[in-house]
């Protein structure tokens, strides 16, 4: 018998909802079977904590008495350039922005990228103040031409993260076939298959647990770095047409979501600036998506485990940057990746991740607790993500 989100929310409100994490549900389903699990379980929580480059923050800076038009002028925060092509007081700081000519970023080889947009965002979330510098041409209504002021979140009317692409449903496993080390957004890759990096929470990752976006859509409420955030839109590069395994999960990077959430509700425990040597600055965020167990198909989706999820192995020395050579060096399961080594071209290659499974677990448990306490209710999305129809066809 199918459940509705309203029925599940009623159970959450009365403190009676049965909730498991996407890791726990695997054993639960092995024990009680799909039918019984569909009746007994109300919600499964997912989690991920990982660098997600397409992230950034919108701010509306409080005006001083003599007003200023940042729009069309320029603004920097601790030297990091913000986008100022909006209304008078609105600016956007991208996670990967870096100050021009900053020795903290350019000194030495590989460059270390010690301070950028992500650090501004982390500083503000941690309650610190940053130096706003603004310059403009001055108008009759906005006469001030230059401004320098230490600002914290209290000096903003609004401060929210708006990340155009988060939570990639699956990701490449990066390796280096060349004979010299390379520095990439997937870390330092040693020559001749010296190491392999992956970047997904696998069986805990939100979109792996709802592969056809049956319950995750525009308007879905999520745990977002400590805040209650929302899916605002399909993420950039959202691609529901990626090749899939029989269990419905994609074999290559596929779906994504754009997320939005209030920075004042966020905590630095769940949001961290990171620096990739030789590459740049980016932001790690925590995302947890609750998945309502509406029926047996949802149980099947959320009970996928690491040995049933596959990622493509991609060469980042030639194929990724130049499009030369083999597109894929093979497929590996997340179980293999998490074992510490994989085999590529008959060579044993040690593995590591940039996505923290320890923190993904913590996110999923935190969200589970919030739902059990009745302080986090589920939402019915307002519009589906592109590709939701593919799932309907596949299951019919």
């Amino acid at each position: 018998m199918a459940k509705t989100i309203e029925e599940i929310n009623a159970k959450i409100r009365s403190g009676k909802a049965v909730v498991f994490t996407a890791e726990e549900i695997i054993e639960v389903v092995k024990d009680m079977g799909i039918k019984k699990a569909a009746r007994k379980v109300d919600v499964v929580t997912t989690g991920t904590f990982s660098p997600m480059c397409s992230s950034g923050a919108f701010f509306n800076v409080k005006q001083p008495k003599e007003k200023m038009k940042l729009g069309g002028g320029f603004a920097t925060l601790n030297g990091v350039p913000a986008y100022a092509g909006l209304a008078a007081a609105d600016i956007y700081v991208g996670a990967t922005a870096i100050p021009d000519g900053d020795p903290r970023n350019s000194n030495g080889r590989p460059g270390r990228y010690r301070y950028g947009g992500a650090h501004v965002i982390e500083d503000l979330v941690a309650g610190k103040k940053v130096l706003l510098k603004g310059g403009s041409y001055g108008t009759d209504c906005y006469p001030m031409k230059a401004r320098e002021q230490m600002v914290g979140l209290d000096d903003m009317n609004d401060a929210f993260l708006f990340n155009p692409r988060n939570c990639y449903q699956n990701y490449n496993v990066a390796v280096n076939l060349s004979d010299k080390p390379i520095y990439t957004y997937m870390g330092k890759l040693k020559p001749k298959l010296g190491n392999a990096y992956y970047c997904s929470a696998g069986q805990l990752s939100p979109l792996f647990n709802d592969p056809y976006f049956r319950t995750i859509g525009i308007g879905t409420r999520v745990f977002f770095s400590g805040a209650e955030g929302y899916v605002a839109w399909p993420g950039t590069q959202h691609n529901p047409d990626a090749p899939r395994l029989e269990n419905g999960t994609p074999k290559t990077p596929a779906g994504t979501v754009a997320l939005i959430g209030d920075m004042r509700q966020m905590s630095a425990e769940w949001l961290r600036a990171v620096s990739f040597a030789g590459y740049g600055v980016t932001l790690s965020v925590a995302v947890g998506v609750p998945i309502p167990i509406l029926d047996e198909d949802m149980v099947r989706s959320v009970s996928v485990s690491d040995e049933q999820l596959k990622a493509p192995v991609v060469d980042y020395s030639e194929y990724y940057p130049l499009g030369k050579g083999e597109a894929q060096l093979g497929e590996v399961t997340y179980e293999e990746l998490k074992s510490g080594s994989i085999h590529i071209k008959k060579q044993k290659v040690p593995t590591g991740s940039f996505s923290s499974y320890a923190l993904a677990r913590k996110v999923a448990h935190h969200l589970k607790q919030r739902i059990q306490e009745g302080s986090f209710l589920l939402t019915q999305f307002q519009a589906p993500l592109p590709g939701a129809a593919i799932g309907k066809e596949a299951t019919q």
């Binding site: 904590f49 392999a196 790690s284 590591g352 991740s353 940039f354 499974y357 320890a358």
Partner: protein
Amino acid sequence: MKLVLIFPETIVEEPITYHLISDYGIRVNILRASIDPGKQGKMVVELLGEKVQISQGLNYLERVGVQVTPLAQKIRHLEDRCTSCTACVPLCPTQALDVDRESWNVSFDPEKCIVCFSCLETCIYYAMSVEEEFV
């Protein structure tokens, strides 16, 4: 390479860095120095140059009676900054950095560490730091 140089009081007035630079073409970066005439002196230096130049320079130091020891460096794991992502694990040559595949917590065993600095370059959270022990 970073070295601690100890001068006996008899040669404290020798222009040692001058000789390293002009006779052996070594770039000498003085990180710390405490030298008083008539007393034993200590200096922490970084020597940069070709291998041959450096080994000739070290021979010179030994000849004039300077005691040369490598600077003790220790790697520290800043647990409050570490997210246990495991990026450091495949690059650590001695498994000083390792992950428990049940708890997924990354731990650091300083006894196994050979101070190769691989983790410093790899850690995106700056959770690894180097401490230099100036004697």
